[in-house]
Symmetry: C2
Subunit: 159 residues, 2 copies
DNA sequence: ATCTCATATGATAATAATTATCATATGGAA
DNA sequence: TTCCATATGATAATTATTATCATATGAGAT
């Protein structure tokens, strides 16, 4: 139902950590696995909750630090959102995002059309573009159904 | 040098506020004008600072409330960023963003090619797309120059 | 123009999100 | 194994944002 995003193999993950000068620890592996298992771009808090069962003692500040380490090593990245706590992404393949303006749900989306889009060669002001990301904003299936039932749904305060 | 983004006329701004059931006050006008004068997608804190001169008594929590009101009324919006404090945008015209991964600078960019992009008609999962936004990520002129001088610039912690 | 009252502001406190500090533990090189 | 630079766990501090509440004010009705 909820397909996990393509994650790195444990060996490859370890290799990237070491390549970035980040030591491989059980906690880092656990945080990475928790992230890789969640396709909905969880917050740090959500990752911490998910880890409660197997790592009841892992403190939230440590999860924050590890998230930063994993990002530095390129195993995960922070994904753009309209305020609120940072949202994380362990999906290693190039993809775009569908963002629900009502509930904040964010799911991955891979489109040949959009993903093949190339950067304009000339950008203003000497800006040197390296990549781009696209957010498609609208209503997810659930909120879309609600909207149909009750009329328009207003924009939520925070995503 | 730093062109202010297209802002609403005072009359139009007032009209939209009243239409949304938001009273027109001197403070709300001041916050809107401060935002409209800043093309770099300031944080709430930055707007507050900018207002210090003419509104030394306006407290930060009030600026937060007013920003929320202006967003509800559609005078401004929150713009997507990779964590950190929310960034605001008073530019009323359809546009995209150039984001510097080194310093977090975010500038507007209007491209006929990208802005004319139309949403794919079929999105997965019953998601109903309404709009999209594109972030072009790279290095701004300043950081680009630094990179040329010293070699690669690493990704900054927060944008 | 004055009255009225629902709503905004200003002052302040509280909460949420994130980062810092530091003593102890441990990965991994020698 | 020994060693040491770095990670964790515990905790405090800081930053970002929201809540509360007494007073002030916008704007509709007299
Ligand atoms: Zn939704
Ligand atoms: Zn994603
Ligand atoms: Zn820059
Ligand atoms: Zn903008």
């Amino acid at each position: 139902m909820e397909g996990s995003p393509p994650l790195l193999s444990p060996a490859e993950a370890d290799r990237r950590l070491r390549a970035a000068g980040v030591r491989v620890t059980a906690q880092r592996r656990a945080v990475y696995e928790a992230l890789a298992a969640d396709p909905l771009h969880p917050t740090v808090e959500a990752v911490h909750s998910r880890l409660k069962k197997n790592w009841p003692s892992l403190p939230l500040p440590t999860v924050y630090r590890i998230v930063e380490d994993l990002a530095v090593a390129g195993l995960i990245r922070r994904v753009a959102s309209d305020g609120g706590p940072q949202r994380l992404d362990a999906n290693a393949e190039r993809h775009q995002h569908l963002v629900c303006r009502a509930c904040g749900r964010m799911e991955d989306w891979t489109s040949a059309g959009l993903s093949g889009l190339s950067l304009p060669r000339s950008l203003p002001d000497g800006f040197s573009g390296e990549t781009y990301d696209i957010r498609i904003v609208g209503l997810c299936r659930t909120c879309s159904a609600k909207a149909e039932a009750r009329g328009i749904i207003p924009k939520r305060r925070k995503s």
